[in-house]
Symmetry: D2
Subunit: 139 residues, 4 copies
């Protein structure tokens, strides 16, 4: 299946639909059923001690999966997150961006299911892992 949107199209979509957060993210790559998304960590995302806030990491997982899904089904569908189970495993490395690898494991008629691995740029170890389900509205 050829993706319905490429990385550039996804970035335009983000800027248009989510202008308040689009500068936080960059779409690094899009493949069949996958997306790689950069989170530009800035001071406003940090908690005391310099760690990235949990909601910021959750938001990254959610955005990465959403973009992987839009890449497949195109920008018209208004998919909504119905479930996310996220494990926070390690404090991110200081002063570097986070990278989220999303993959879709099931793209059904009404549900899409996938998971996301989040790492600090340049690191092997996983900062967080999330499984997400999206509900796809009828066309």
């Amino acid at each position: 299946m050829v993706p319905a949107m490429d990385a550039a199209a996804l970035e335009v979509f983000l800027e248009t639909e989510f202008p308040q957060v689009s500068r936080d993210y960059a779409v690094e790559a899009v493949g069949p059923m996958t997306a790689l998304v950069r989170f530009r960590v800035a001071a406003r995302h940090l908690r005391p001690g310099g760690t990235v806030s949990g909601p910021s990491i959750f938001a990254l997982a959610d955005v990465a999966m959403y973009l992987a899904l839009l890449a497949q089904i195109g920008p018209k569908a208004l998919a909504v997150t119905t479930n996310c189970s996220i494990d926070f495993m390690r404090k991110p490395a200081a002063g570097v961006d986070l990278l989220a690898e999303a993959r879709i494991l099931k793209l059904g008629r009404v549900l899409a299911v996938g998971d996301v691995l989040i790492r600090s740029e340049g690191e092997e170890q996983v900062v967080a892992r999330a499984g997400l389900t999206y509900s796809i509205p009828p066309r």
Copy 2:
């Protein structure tokens, strides 16, 4: 067990430790193993269509459980979220605050587990439900 911190003490803690978000939340009530937390929904928390963003709802669940836990164990412990499984069920009602009811189901030596129900103020129906685990560092 008498709570180690009451609602007023928790609000002071929030203002001191999380000044960037403390104005978003109010501690309505604290009981044994429970906390009721108000999220003052503002324009910056909304997504296109007027719905409250997923990360804002996740943050509310996380804060409510964290405050329920601090109420029990006091402000010194640096508990961290290790897992959250959240179900998003309904779009919140427009123009009203969200209320999160957190309860701790297990307060162990190294882990605390609980769940949170989130509703729009004045509504019976549940907007989101989350189960959360916190890791409690050794004293």
Copy 3:
């Protein structure tokens, strides 16, 4: 909404459709959007040390939610579990049954979401808590 099936009807359904496990469970009560299900713990459900096996506890959560759902929508629908997030908190008490309280928090057109609390009979403390999502097939 009047339940579509009462406790007796659910037990007949279990015996007919799931004869291999129906003797393990008893439907104690059914209410609007709720079900209380007994798990008759037997030697075959135990692990070394006398604890009830994780899969047996998972199965109880799944059955309890399924029965709460069937009580609402009737026996014809072939609902399937799409997600379960379960926290195991305490070892069950020895030599007593487990009781599972299931409640449906959302009963939508295609998805039903609820949670289940599992306790040893006669105990206050929670052994396990699960959030479950069921997919409801089109009629």
Copy 4:
């Protein structure tokens, strides 16, 4: 890190500690932080319609992660599952075994976190995906 137990040692452990279920599983391979486990699907694991029961799939995910963990830390530790979030995506193929790929993403002092992909033998598509957390008791 050299695994503390290889596939043969894990099978002996299963037979000794879990004789009632050990014949259901075979350890296909063990690597650094990974395990591949076969589930020998038999009539007793099936539900009406010929599908493998949810609790059997849950049990497979739990066993696969447990074996991946024991391979790392050795047979003495009595690790217990504290959380499992599982997505059921597709009905397994009829008449073939299931294969579970477990990988540990974090092996900490008190918690181990990983995930498991389950497929029907010979199939690409994922039947179920689970994220699991184990609590590791103090030595």
